[in-house]
């Protein structure tokens, strides 16, 4: 896992032209618990898995309302996510104050990306260790963006980040072509199904997941637990198998242990994908 001599600080290039510190930051995102997002023409749904560290503690907040028309789901270092959410909220408030209209999502995402880039080019800083799924609505329609620690951002029809997100991505790849014309409820159902995929056997309950919606005529809000549970029951989503042993809980973001995970090899730099 150690790429050795060239990974001490973010301002050092490797001979292969990579910034290992930035790649390590993206590794932190992969260690966080899953977050998914999907959009239709008129709505965007965000969902995330909420695993509490212990039975005694509450779970971490991973979905933040940024403005009436924008919300964000994070995976990775939650503290970094909280700080970035505060920045995004401020930007929306200031833009609205000056222009008396909502900040277009695409603009916000670029500002966020530029901030992230700064942290990849200062020797006294470190990259943000959080990936953000930004869901928003503006005049040009519904949008879902992914902002990563490298300072890159991409727009998606549907995406999943965090641990075991590949399972969700596989599900979304099967479904994404139909998403554009989905109704709001179908979109939420797909989100719940995608979350279920990341749980890999564990029963899907509203207590371990959070779902938020934004859409035309519907300001961004987090669905309350009861509504989510009702939807789960209605769509008859049950765990595929009741795993007898508890799933190894590697889903808490901060434990970025040096996992010999099958993430990147010495080949393509992940930022270029």
């Amino acid at each position: 896992m150690f790429r050795n001599q060239y990974d001490t600080d973010v301002t050092t290039w490797s001979p292969a032209g990579r910034l290992f510190q930035v790649e390590y930051a993206m590794e932190a995102v992969k260690q966080g618990s899953a977050a998914i997002g999907l959009r239709s023409k008129t709505h965007v749904v965000l969902g995330c898995v909420n695993k509490a560290n212990s039975e005694l503690s509450s779970h971490q907040k991973k979905i933040f309302k940024v403005d009436d028309h924008i919300g964000v789901a994070i995976a990775g270092l939650t503290a970094d996510g909280r700080v970035l959410s505060r920045y995004m909220r401020n930007e929306c408030i200031n833009y609205n104050f000056t222009y008396e209209s909502p900040l277009p999502v695409g603009r916000l995402v670029v500002q966020l990306a530029d901030r992230a880039q700064v942290c990849t080019q200062r020797s006294w800083k470190r990259p943000y260790g959080v990936g953000l799924l930004v869901a928003g609505l503006d005049e040009s329609g519904a949008h879902l963006y992914y902002n990563c620690p490298s300072g890159n951002y991409f727009e998606y029809q549907a995406f999943a980040i965090g641990s075991r997100s590949q399972a969700a991505k596989t599900y979304l790849e099967r479904r994404f072509e139909n998403l554009a014309d989905s109704s709001r409820d179908d979109l939420v159902k797909d989100a719940l199904m995608a979350i279920r995929e990341t749980l890999q056997g564990e029963t899907l309950k509203s207590s371990i997941c959070t779902v938020a919606v934004v859409g035309v005529g519907e300001p961004f809000h987090i669905l309350d637990q009861e509504t989510v549970q009702q939807m789960i029951n209605a769509f008859e989503i049950v765990g595929e198998q009741e795993g007898p042993a508890a799933e190894p809980d590697d889903a808490s973001g901060q434990e970025a242990a040096a996992e010999q995970g099958g993430s990147t090899d010495e080949g393509v730099a992940p930022m270029d994908i």
């Binding site: 309302k65 505060r86 909220r89 401020n90 408030i93 200031n94 609205n96 104050f97």
Partner: protein, 221 residues
Amino acid sequence: MTKQQANWSPYDNNGGSCVAIAGADYCVIAADTRMSTGYNILTRDYSKICKLADKCVMASSGFQADVRALQKQLAARHLIYQHQHNKQMSCPAMAQLLSNTLYYKRFFPYYSFNVLGGLDNEGKGCVFTYDAVGSYEKVGYSSQGSGSTLIMPFLDNQLKSPSPLLLPAQDAVTPLVEAEAIDLVKTVFASASERDIYTVRRQTRTCYHKCSWYPPGIHGT
């Protein structure tokens, strides 16, 4: 050679009057709808009332450009509060915020004479009255603006409440029923509009009631 004096003022007075009356479980806030400059009318149909929070409404007379800027400031601050506290600001909290915001510009004030009205956390009516630099007081009723010199004595006569300085503290809210208070407000504007050229009978009026509340509407006479 005499000293040069400024012949341009950043301020203008757009006139108008605002009134608020608090009751045991309601609050009535009203402001007339005329906006003037000098001896001219700019518009007959302007609302000087602004909803700041779920249960808090501000009526402001004075220089409407400053009023608008003040309203935007408070709205932005309220959004930040909601993000941080996950709830709406209460009326007393907003009252303090307004005072601080006004005093922040102590040396280039908002030319805005405000009356804040709403329900406090127990559902009791509350009214706060301000000067242009943020000095404020919780009262049972108040009026501000060009007609206040005509309105206030009449309200004092009808609603006089015990001084807030008394010990033990006595209730400032009026014992009147909501319908009576609304009637009183209508009468007050009818009277003030007789002699104050900047005030008209037509008003926007908001009534907050503990059980339900009515969004601001244009109410005639």
